[in-house]
Assembly symmetry: C2
């Protein structure tokens, strides 16, 4: 792919509009709450309230997987837009402010009077691992009417997250967006998001790959879950057989890019410190897509992904704080 000057956006992303509530806790907290470390689970408003009451003091930082990716893209100088539903409440205002302040074009109208803005209660343990407990709230109210055909057609690439498959209306919105993008000759990318998404929507994901998706981001566990294998190489090859471009991220072991018969293994860029791994995958996708939509070689795209991922794990919160453009420039000299 080469940079498309005719497009108004490099990437249009569709995802859950979430404000993260981040608290440090010892491992005991998770054990006592019966929450598997490193997991992501959907919780009800009541469960969220009960868990929040037990959590230590938090910090609220805008999040949402695909939203984090757009913030990373904008930080890298790409033109990014986001579609996702907040509520007309204080946290909804925070989300909308932060994503716009990050330089992302965001216009989805807030929902009125329904569920509150979605929140993710994130427990960060001393090993920097994050455990996510998501109350989707108004995210569930995103629907097909929010997919503006002109905006989708105007984006070189449309990207969306597997998390959207859970409630029915957002999933229909995604299918509409993917169909518009394909019809316009644009690229479509998705992330599998989480093992629970893969397990809940395996058939649907595989069907999407065959007809509508050009690029898939998966981490090791998601890829293995998708193809029900313990062998990451087997899973990566199975994915590559189904989509033109597959990227499998492997935490500290780096990433594998599979493009037809091409294979690239890229090591991580070491982080200055590892404080909170929330958003590492989201920022990897940001770096990769920033390179990809500029027509950079696939290996460089993956390196840009690892640079962006390294930055976000150095601090709390899943959006970049340091100058990503400068980091990329330093790396490529």
């Amino acid at each position: 792919m080469t940079a498309d000057q005719s497009a108004a956006f490099d990437v249009l992303a569709i995802g859950n509009a979430i404000v993260d509530v981040i608290a440090r806790q010892e491992d005991d907290f998770l054990r006592q709450a019966g929450i598997p470390k490193g997991s992501m689970r959907l919780i009800s408003a009541e469960e969220a309230e009960a868990l929040y009451a037990r959590m230590g003091p938090g910090r609220e930082i805008s999040g949402g997987s695909a939203a984090n990716t757009t913030a990373g893209l904008a930080a890298l100088g790409s033109r990014a837009a986001f579609i996702g539903r907040v509520s007309d409440d204080q946290l909804g205002h925070v989300f909308a402010h932060d994503i716009r302040a990050a330089g992302v074009d965001y216009r989805t109208p807030p929902a009125n009077g329904g569920r509150p803005t979605g929140q993710c209660l994130i427990i960060v343990t001393p090993d920097a691992q994050r455990t996510m407990n998501t109350y989707l709230g108004s995210c569930q109210e995103l629907d097909e009417a929010d997919i503006d055909e002109a905006r989708v057609r105007a984006a070189s690439l449309t990207y969306f997250e597997g998390y959207l498959w859970d409630p029915p209306a957002p999933m229909r919105a995604i299918r509409k967006a993917a169909a518009i993008a394909r019809a316009a000759g644009r690229r479509v990318a998705m992330t599998l998001s989480d093992v629970f998404c893969v397990e809940g929507h395996r058939a649907d994901f595989l069907e999407m790959f065959g007809s509508m998706v050009d690029i898939v981001f998966a981490n090791e566990n998601e890829a293995k879950a998708l193809f029900q294998t313990d062998d990451v190489a087997v899973a990566a090859e199975a994915l590559a057989a189904r989509v033109p471009l597959a990227i499998v991220t492997r935490s500290e072991k780096g990433a594998i890019v599979l493009n037809g018969a091409e294979r690239h293994e890229v090591p991580i860029v070491p982080a200055a410190r590892v404080l909170d791994t929330t958003g590492a995958g989201d920022l990897f996708a940001a770096g990769f897509l920033a390179g990809y939509t500029r027509g950079r070689p696939l290996r460089d795209c993956a390196v840009m992904g690892t640079i962006a991922a390294a930055e976000v794990i150095e601090h709390y919160g899943a959006r970049p704080e340091d100058d990503l453009k400068a980091r990329v420039a330093r790396h490529f000299g």
Copy 2:
């Protein structure tokens, strides 16, 4: 003072209940907005909205000067209570959650249907200096009815912030609390909070000192403003002549404690890094009062203050994140 086992609380603090919205900005941002660096100013809801729209992505972390002090006290193992008014909205819930999760006894009922929860828009420049823009919101609705006589009587020491002088109802609440504490033979402490508080309420502060206040915390600029002098030594001595115990903090130059004829100069404890100076004074007061209410020598109290202040400037946000008890224990061996 020696530790009072009969008291239910070591410190009851009264202050503004504020959620901080913290954003990093270059110095140019302040210049363009015409805001003096390092200042604290009160802004209207409209000004807050306009400034927020210009600010970069933020992080929301519970704050409020005296509230931060109680969080520091609790982190140091002291029994702390807080009185301050939030609204019944999302940020109000965040404030109430965070202060309770920090281990502080907090029971002030939220206001319903009035102004939203108070917010402080904090610009942190690359030199770690903070510039604060406060929309008081529901803080202004604190009144005398919120001062429960039994709770004040049950605290060894009642502490309040000069910031409360601005709106009339909270100021009356403070006077009521101070009178109850004095009548019960308890100690009363206050912080001058800011130069603008001093300049607006000089006569009232001086009158309070003579009749109701045992301990005053002031930074160098506040002390100088109070006595309209450029000489910090002159200001410190003038303060010491009016209150039994005066503590003048001098940023990187440490603190001076003045108690009758006693004088102690204490240097700072170096911070591992200086990222955001918000809350340094609040945490100094926390450390000092934790020592004071345990009957520690005044010099040790000041050292505890500098240890707590050093921790809070190492990260964003004005509440402690690291284990303050362990830091104090390490220092005193």
